[in-house]
Subunit: 314 residues, 2 copies
Amino acid sequence: MSILVVGSVAFDTLETPSGKAEKILGGAATYFSLAASFFTDVRVIGVVGEDFTVEHEAVMTKRGVDTTGIEHAPGLTFHWTGSYSGNLAEAKTLGTDLNVFATFSPKIPAAYADSDYLFLANIDPVLQAEVRKAMPGVKMVCGDTMNYWIADHTENLKLVLKELDVLLINDGEARMLSGETNGFKAAEKVMKLGPKSVVVKHGEYGATGYFSDRAFPPIAGTPGKTPAPFRAPAMPLAEVVDPTGAGDSFAGGFYGYLASQPVFSPEGFRTAMFYGGVMGSFTCEQFGTKRLETLTKEEIDARFELFREISHLS
Amino acid sequence: MSILVVGSVAFDTLETPSGKAEKILGGAATYFSLAASFFTDVRVIGVVGEDFTVEHEAVMTKRGVDTTGIEHAPGLTFHWTGSYSGNLAEAKTLGTDLNVFATFSPKIPAAYADSDYLFLANIDPVLQAEVRKAMPGVKMVCGDTMNYWIADHTENLKLVLKELDVLLINDGEARMLSGETNGFKAAEKVMKLGPKSVVVKHGEYGATGYFSDRAFPPIAGTPGKTPAPFRAPAMPLAEVVDPTGAGDSFAGGFYGYLASQPVFSPEGFRTAMFYGGVMGSFTCEQFGTKRLETLTKEEIDARFELFREISHLS
């Protein structure tokens, strides 16, 4: 099955306790695509500027990602500058040069029309809604957002939430969107806004999935019992070199695995959350997309087994 | 097997978003004993004042806890006053009346001398060391501490840490004790101070156990491989009525289960961490010790299964 992802393709300049990196390849759609490419076919829609080279694009095409939908516009590529300190839980943004991303208007190539799964990465909810509308036939829609859209573009965001099968957010975003400090109640409230399932990421502590009984329509005759929340672990890493893109890599592993399955099932969702954690943990090990570029399916399988070991009783 | 626990027996006056409670039974040794009593024999050492009634003591004796070692001294019982807000992650201490606890000098009844397991709840490390020295024949020593002792009684605490098989602390304490922000490195450093294993509690996100290859000496012929860290989930609770004593209840469930097992094994430690989470989650459901007082083994078993469901792939 194929995933269509729309989101940012960017350059990042960043500093972590492990070192500095200058204008390296980044962006939510980039990390998502690379992570998902280990599980299924991926097609990207985004925009880049004249400083985006053939070599940058090859990072994605080498992994089989279809970059037909990456528009090359006059000007410079979106450039984020930030730094991390302490336990690297949160980035401090030092600069956001939107450049060509400021006037981004997603265009869907004809060859993408038959995509089965849609991922709306963290961009303006107005654009998310446009792309969703242009792809009415997809089997599933999964999306991400951030505090900026939650705070200042709430109404537009709510229109997108109505259309989502799965929303992927972090703790702070779940609290902000729901006005609830309790994690369980926050997820319940967020699901009332539309998403059939919510996966809340807790950084170094893993993620909790809340799957409503609306989450599994394709399984005829499934008992109506709402699955309990599910807790997926994160890998205790001795060194987090660069956490940039870990959340997007989680999304790629999660959704990539889901899209590779013949049917949706509670067990499939659980396994997808484990693969999300696996891909996020790899991304943290090196700067930018470096670790994902050299990663193999064997390494992914081995880490998946490690995730099982560190969370299962036997 | 029997556990000897030394620690505080207290009264708590507290306020949470769910309501207020005035001078209710509390204290680390109390919560620990009640939680552990579902798994094994428990003997308590502590001190109370004249305001501690037969009814208060009966809360423990009804659960089979041996309270011979609770000394009744002239004066008032240790009284803590505090409040919780937001997501109830941390208590704000409004008052600490040590009362009879200020001059507490643990006395070990002769009948406790054959105890198999020792739990040093959060008290002055000088007293922890004394009790540990007086019980040289125990099979295992497990202990707790808090930021106050870490910051201002470091050297005394380090003497206790050298003697511990298992240290139970929370994230903040692990960081403070190690000077490391990274969770994995923090645990490694703490283990170098003595404890063969460290269980780090993450509140609503569960706990991570780090078990060194020194953790399982009683199993002859066990391969030398250090077990990977282990992540145990916490229950996503829709309402946390009162989190007071949740950490001590975790300790009671964890250590009570361990003490009920014929041998130490990695799987036993993992299961113990699950039971820790189970007992902690029950304590949060009502004010003070109320939930533990009415709890049944059947409810514990059912919640253990729920913990397995929310964390296991199938």
